[in-house]
Subunit: 136 residues, 2 copies
């Protein structure tokens, strides 16, 4: 299997497969006489693992840790759970942050006429004048 086939078998682009190899996330595969990368089932399995972890929002660094734990037969599940739960916490922090932005923006958009007049509470807020918070 060459890189293009491995790519379509895993959903990881050929570009990214080479990148993951270059940063040491995955091991360099064997090459053909004409320098083509050759992938087998094991490599595809690793790539799918990486793909899934990335889809779940783990960074490449975290994915590397998880990959190490996966390949370590003696690891404790507690270690994995620790990585996962701290990732959950980070995601929830991010979500709360975004929700705060949405809340503020929705309030401003609600107060904004959205018409042809130049008065705009959104811009007023951005400018640091807060007339919308007074009368509401």
């Amino acid at each position: 299997m060459n890189i293009g086939e491995a790519s379509s078998a895993t959903g990881v682009s050929a570009k990214m497969i080479r990148y993951y190899e270059s940063i040491g996330l995955i091991r360099a595969p064997l090459r053909t006489g004409s320098n083509y990368r050759v992938y087998g089932e094991d490599e595809v399995h690793v790539l799918r693992f990486v793909k899934r972890a990335r889809t779940l929002g783990f960074s490449v660094e975290e994915t590397s840790t998880l990959l190490g734990l996966w390949q370590d037969k003696t690891r404790a599940s507690a270690e994995v759970k620790e990585v996962a739960t701290s990732h959950i916490t980070a995601l929830e922090t991010k979500i709360a942050e975004l929700q705060g932005m949405v809340k503020t923006l929705k309030h401003l958009a609600h107060c904004c006429g959205g018409d042809n007049r130049p008065d705009c509470p959104i811009l007023d807020d951005l400018a640091g004048e807060h007339p919308t918070t007074k009368g509401h």
Copy 2:
């Protein structure tokens, strides 16, 4: 006011002030004879506008648009509302995405013993074996 004072007056780092100037988001200020940037109240006001917009998650590009609308006395508030609401939509899409990740991870973490045994549903899921979804 030099760049350091403008920075502490607005919460925008001196580095970023120079950057915003270099990409044309803000105008280049006057300079002293010794080439120091000089800021006045107007510039500080603009910087605060930028800071607020960035805090609300608008990209620099969007911030630039909003800044243009702010400085355009004849603009319609509808234009501003359009920028804001499409940003809200983007934020909500991102939130939903992150919530999906959290949901999956919480499910996996819940199924994971978190003990000293090597069995780990989280890794099993990442590896593409889905035993947790069966018995649940």
